[in-house]
C-alpha cells in the first residue's frame, strides 16, 4: 500500500511545472524595487523617444488640410515623411497661421508643447506668443520649461527630441557591438587553434588603441558624420569586452557534455554554436551589453560635447552641454541635459546590475 502512495507522490512531484530559466530570472528581477524603477524609467524614455514629435514640436501631430489627413510631425523623424504639399503651398514650416489662412476648414491637433528643437520660435508664430528669449534671459519660464539656449532654441524640445537620439545611440551601437563581439568571441572560443589566435590578436589590437582616439580618427575619415555613422563607429569600437567574455563562455561550454552529445548526433559546428551554446552563453553576455548601452550614451554625449557629434541642427543632449561650455552663466544648459544623461546612464546601470543578480547562478544558493 505504501509503495503505491510513494509512486503517486513521485508523479505529482514530476508534474509540477519547472519554470524556464528566463521566467525564473524575471521573477527574481521583479523582486528588486530599484531594478523595476530603473526599468520603468527606461520604458518611460522609450515612450518619450517614440512620441517625441507629439510631445514637443511646431508641426501638428495630425491635421486636416484641404480635405485630406496629414501627419506633419513625422517630419521630425525624416524630412521626406512630411507631405510635400506643405512645401508646395509655401508653408515654410510655419503651421499655425498658414493652416488657417490657406484653408479655413482645416483643423489640427497640436503637440503638447509648442516649441521647436532646431530653431527659435518666432514672434507671434503661435498667435499671441512672443518669440523665444535668448542668452541671459533664457532661464526656465512657463513657455520654455527648461529655458532656452544662447540662440533662443527651446531646451525642453531639444531634450525631448534628444531622447530619441540617446536611446537610438544606445541600442544601435550596442546592437552592432554585441553582434561583432559575440561573433568574434564565439569563433575564437569555439574553434580554438589558429582561428582563436587571429581573433584574440584582433581583439587585443582594437583594445590597445585608445578608444576616443580611434573614434575621433574614424569620424574624421568619414567626411560627413551623421548620427547613424557616429553610432556605427561607436559600435565598431566597443565590442572588445563582449568578445572577450563570449570567448571565455564558449571555451567553457565547449567542454560540456551536452555539446559532445550534440556532436554525437551529427550536428555541424555552426548549428552547435548557435543553437546549443549561444543560448547558454547569452545570459552573462547580456550584462556587459546593458552596461555598454550606458557607456555608448556617455560616449555619444562626450563626442557631442567635444564638438564631434552629429552636426547641428541635430538635437542631442551632449550638444546642449557643448554650448554650455562657453555660456557657464546659463546654468540651465547644464542642469537639464546633465540630469538627463545622468539619470539615463544610472537607469541602464541599474538594469544591468539587476540583470546580473537575477541570472547569476551562484547568487541563488541562499538556502542550504
Amino acid at each position: 500500500m505504501n509503495q503505491e502512495k510513494m509512486r503517486v507522490s513521485e508523479e505529482i512531484e514530476a508534474a509540477k511545472p519547472s519554470r524556464g530559466f528566463w521566467s525564473d530570472a524575471w521573477q527574481r528581477y521583479r523582486r528588486r524595487p530599484i531594478g523595476m524603477l530603473a526599468l520603468g524609467f527606461v520604458l518611460f524614455l522609450t515612450i518619450v523617444a517614440i512620441f517625441a514629435p507629439a510631445i514637443a514640436g511646431t508641426k501638428p501631430v495630425v491635421c486636416s488640410y484641404k480635405g485630406t489627413l496629414y501627419f506633419p510631425c513625422l517630419g521630425y523623424f525624416n524630412r521626406s515623411w512630411e507631405s510635400p504639399i506643405f512645401t508646395k503651398d509655401k508653408f515654410r514650416g510655419t503651421y499655425p497661421k498658414n493652416l488657417k489662412q490657406k484653408d479655413p476648414e482645416s483643423w489640427a491637433v497640436w503637440p503638447l508643447v509648442f516649441q521647436d528643437p532646431y530653431r527659435r520660435v518666432r514672434e507671434n508664430e503661435w498667435p499671441g506668443r512672443r518669440e523665444n528669449p535668448s542668452r541671459d534671459e533664457g532661464h526656465p519660464n512657463r513657455l520654455n520649461l527648461f529655458g532656452t539656449d544662447q540662440y533662443g532654441v527651446d531646451i525642453f524640445a531639444k531634450m525631448v527630441h534628444g531622447t530619441t537620439i540617446a536611446l537610438l545611440v544606445g541600442f544601435v551601437s550596442m546592437g552592432l557591438a554585441g553582434s561583432i563581439g559575440v561573433l568574434v568571441g564565439a569563433l575564437g572560443g569555439y574553434f580554438g587553434g589558429w582561428v582563436d589566435m587571429i581573433t584574440s590578436r584582433l581583439t587585443e589590437i582594437v583594445m590597445c588603441i585608445p578608444t576616443l582616439v580611434l573614434i575621433l580618427a574614424l569620424i574624421a575619415v568619414v567626411e560627413k558624420p551623421t548620427i547613424w555613422k557616429t553610432m556605427a563607429i561607436i559600435g565598431a569600437t566597443g565590442w572588445t569586452g563582449i568578445a572577450r567574455l563570449t570567448r571565455a563562455e564558449f571555451l567553457r561550454l565547449r567542454q560540456t557534455e551536452f555539446v559532445m552529445a550534440a556532436r554525437a548526433t551529427g550536428a555541424g559546428s555552426l548549428r552547435i554554436m548557435f543553437r546549443h551554446i549561444l543560448p547558454n552563453a547569452l545570459a552573462p553576455v547580456l550584462v556587459p551589453i546593458t552596461f555598454g548601452i550606458a557607456s555608448a550614451i556617455l560616449v555619444e554625449g562626450s563626442l557631442s560635447f567635444l564638438g564631434f557629434g552629429p552636426p547641428p541642427p541635430t538635437a542631442s543632449w551632449g550638444s546642449v552641454l557643448n554650448s554650455a561650455r562657453s555660456n557657464l552663466q546659463l546654468w540651465w544648459l547644464v542642469v537639464f541635459p546633465g540630469a538627463g544623461i545622468f539619470l539615463t546612464v544610472l537607469a541602464y546601470n541599474l538594469v544591468g546590475e539587476g540583470l546580473q543578480e537575477a541570472t547569476d547562478p551562484r547568487l541563488r544558493e541562499a538556502k542550504k
Binding site: 505504501n2 509503495q3 502512495k5 510513494m6 507522490s9 513521485e10 541562499a366 538556502k367 542550504k368
Partner: protein, 331 residues
Amino acid sequence: MAAPLLEIKDLVTVFHTSDGRLPAVDGVSLSIERGQTLGLVGESGCGKSVTAMSTLRLVSSPGRIESGSIMFTTEGESIDLVTTPEKQLRKVRGGRIGMIFQEPMTSLNPVFTIGNQIAEAVQLHRKVSRSEARSRALEMLHLVRLADPEQRLDAYPHQLSGGMRQRVMIAIALACEPDLIIADEPTTALDVTIQAQILELLDDLRSRLGTAILLITHDLGVVAETCDDVAVMYAGRIVEQASAVELFSRPLHPYTIGLLQARPNVDARDSGPLATIPGMVPPPQDFPSGCRFHPRCSHAREPQCNVEPPSLREVSPGHFVRCHFAEEINS
C-alpha cells in the same frame, strides 16, 4: 554524576527563505561525555551538518538558531553556546572546541602557508611568540603524522593532496588541546584508503589525548568502527539513539533497519538485488505530517503515523527510539 561535556537540548535551527521558515534542525537533543565518540548519522539533507554548525554558531545566513540550548561544560564551568556573547564564544571556538570540515580542498586559505595557519590557531588563544607558535605547529604536524613536516610548514595548501590537507585541518583543530572535536564528514571527500587512515588517526588521537569527538557522517561503516554511541537523524529529528553495539545488533527504528539492510553484503553471493528504502528524504519545505518517515515506512499505520508525531522514547536502558510501534515491529 558529572555534567556531560556537551549537552544539546531541543535545538531548533531554521532557515528563513523565500519558501518560508524551514526548520532544518527541529528539536534535536544530544549529549557527549568526556573522551567519548558520538556518531551522528543520516542521509544528505537530514540536518546533521547544520546541527554541527549550530554548536559553534557558524550557521550561515539565512539560517538562525531559533531555540534550544547547547550547554558546554569544561573546568567546572557551564556555558550555553547559544546565548553566550560573541567574545566568549570566540574563546571556545578553536580553543575548547575544534572543528574539521568536509571539504579539505577549499577549507584552507590559499594565500597563507600551512605553518602560518596552524600557528594562527595557537596565537588566537595563547599568548605565545611567533617562534613558539611555529614550533607548536611543527609539533602538531608530527602528531597528525604528516610526512616531511619541516618542509610542509612553509608549503601552501595547493601543494598538498586532499588527505594531507585534512591532516592539516586536524592539526589546526587540535592545536589548542580542545576538549571536543566536531568532525563534519571528515572523510567523505577523500579516497577510501585515505579515509581509513584519517579515521585511524582520529581514533588514535582520541585515545592519546582524551578528546571527545562528535563524528558526523552518512557512512554506517565509519560509525561502526569508531563510535561509542550513535544517533540516527532523519528530516531534522533524531529517530534513534543507542550505543554502537546495541544499535547494530538490535536496531529498532524502521529507518535504521532499512539503512542497515541497504548495505551490500560481501559474503552473501546470491542475495539478489540490493534492498533500498523507497522514496527520498523530504526537503524541509515538504516535511510530511505526523511521523516524518511514514511515507517511506513499510510498517506505517493510519491514522497514528500520519497524524501524530511520535516522541523519542527510551525503549530499553540507553536505547531511544522515535516510533509509535517500535516494540511491536521488533518482537
